[in-house]
């Protein structure tokens, strides 16, 4: 599953990035803290559906569906 599949309030652990991701995108996601092993919470979605705010550790990041779909994850519980 990917981060794009998370429902509101649910948590997931990042596993990695999908194969189609550009190296620069993967690097940026890693630098932002969305690294393998990190727990992520889906906080809220924008009124028009995109982007989505994720809670990563101590801060919040907004990502579009296109990016969220690149991050593979497994449910946290």
């Amino acid at each position: 599953m990917t981060l794009a599949d998370l429902d509101r309030g649910k948590r997931a652990i990042v596993l990695g990035y999908s194969d189609v991701v550009e190296p620069s995108t993967a690097r940026r996601l890693f630098d932002l803290g969305l690294a393998p092993g990190v727990e992520v919470t889906m906080i809220r979605r924008a009124p028009l559906g995109d982007p989505v705010i994720f809670g990563v550790g101590d801060y919040e990041i907004a990502l579009r569906g296109v990016q969220a779909r690149c991050i593979t994850a497994k449910p946290a519980d």
């Binding site: 550009e22 620069s24 630098d31 932002l32 028009l48 982007p51 705010i53 801060y59 907004a62």
Partner: protein, 656 residues
Amino acid sequence: MGHAHHGGGGSTTANIGLKRFAVVGSPNSGKTTLFNALTGLHAKTGNYPGVTVARFEGRTRVDDRDTVVVEDLPGAYSLDPISPDEQIVVDVLDTDQHRANHRSVGLGVPDALLVLLNATTLRRSLGLIAQVHQTGLPICVVLTFTDDLARRRGRLDIAALTRALGVPVVPVVAGHRDGVADLRQVMAESDSWSTPVVAPPTDPAEVTAWIESVLASCDYQVPEVDHRTRRIDAVMLHPVIGTAIFAVTMFLFFQTIFTVAAPLQGYVEAGFGWLGDLVAARVHIPWLSGFLSQAVIGGVGSVLVFLPQIVLLFVLIALLEGTGYLARAAFLMDRVMARAGLEGRAFVALLSSVACAIPGIMATRSLPSAKDRLATMMGAPLMTCSARLPVYILLVSILLPAGSRIGPFSGRGVVMFALYLMGAVSAMLVAAVFKKLSSRGGPVLPFYMEMPPYQVPRLKNVAAEVWTAVSAFLRKVTSIIMTATVVLWVLLNLPLRGDAEMTAAGVDTGSETAVAAYVIDHSYAASVGKAVEPVFAPLGFDWRINIGILSSLAAREVFVATLGQVAAAENPEEPAAALTEMRVQDGPQAGRLLFDAPTIAALLVFFMYALQCMSTVGVMRRESGSWKWPAIAFGYMFVLAWVLALAARTVVAALW
């Protein structure tokens, strides 16, 4: 948006010989606040050579004797660059490159680094330290947001962090002077900064383990979720309530343009009126009186009338940004902007352009993608800025009488709203087109946006931002507009005509009005205006309007001053009436009202699209790093203005 620095040159020749510190950190680490605190408002802005990346450099005293140079490098998440901004950071820090090839002329080699780490995002930020160590430059860590960490029940042993990192660590809380004073003392001793005994690893897997070890040894307690921000966001970003609040905020924002500022404008107007009367009463030398009242008071005064409104807009924008709300606005608008190939932060830049394109263009710095920055820059001047207002108001008041109504709404109000709307839509379309054109080839930068916590805006930052924008505007007024109006006044009143010549032409030399009208009709300005008639004739403009347009290329407001001078020559008592009654003098359309509906429509549309602002050209050049982009902007906007003005004229002529 967010960099509150004076505009100015980017030269560093004055700084040779002084010690250089470079400030490194990720975008949300509090760099701007720290840089401002260190350098005050005395920073110089410029450009890094050849790229669309702004450069900030300033000075500060470290102990009571030494001055050092502080350069605020672009925000970077890591030294593995994926954007031009990060490439600049890599280039500046690349000490081997500096020694090896002298490519770095124009890039100052730093002597020491201040690395900013946000205490609330330490796990993510520490990776940057490991990379920065590779440069071999002396490092001091500046720890920011320690107050936020405490407020959110996080914990960090700073002494332990100092031991674990092996470098000096100085906590700095925005708004508190002690931290900055401590930092200055530490900077004075940069030659003796400790270094880690073993360099931290940079391999991604190893560095994660290193970070865990460091954090464990500091008793790092991750701060709790920022409940205050969560709760506020639950409302502000609620699908229904949040959107409604956003709509209301935007509505109020635009309302200030007209309603709130109006009484203040009245005072300024009255002030200038009094000044004008004073001149008329006291100054008895006719040409001096004319010069002062028309060129100076008329020209500059008509612009300064809008100062209260501009200041108010800047204050609103700065406040909204200081609280963190603009990030929410960007979040809400991202989907809409994405349709144009842009992103939410571009909306903020365009919104700022409603006050004035200059801070709007500077606000594009917040966009991580250089292509987005350029595309937004190309579209920003089309937003209806405050300089267009005097022109619109003048023309609309000629077009429609005061009480006219369209349905339940005031006629003038509807037209103004339509003008604003068209400006906004055009800006978006143009930005979309430029983005599309530039997007061919090359990797697309992924979209991400950090949502900063809500804060009470720091007044010092708000004041600094407002001052930057206002001072840019005042500089425009005093240098460009003043010069243009004076030059115009000269061109309109020269060459002087002798009595004999005028009598021969059938002018009653006893009548001041007739003399003035003759002088203007045969002035240098008139020659120029008539010379360009072929260009503007299809739009229905005559030489008087042409002079107005040419002069307004410097700044739009000059158009009003120019027409005012021309009209005052014909009817000194009631220049406004003179405008409404002006008729085309010769040619196939002789005798028709000059300012008839089709011509006014053409003029309005022309002003909507043409780039008539030297200040904007200057800022574009500075932000994009070359003359190419402002030239392209000027060119495409002129063509667009001409074509659409013709279309407007045709449509209105058919329907009116």
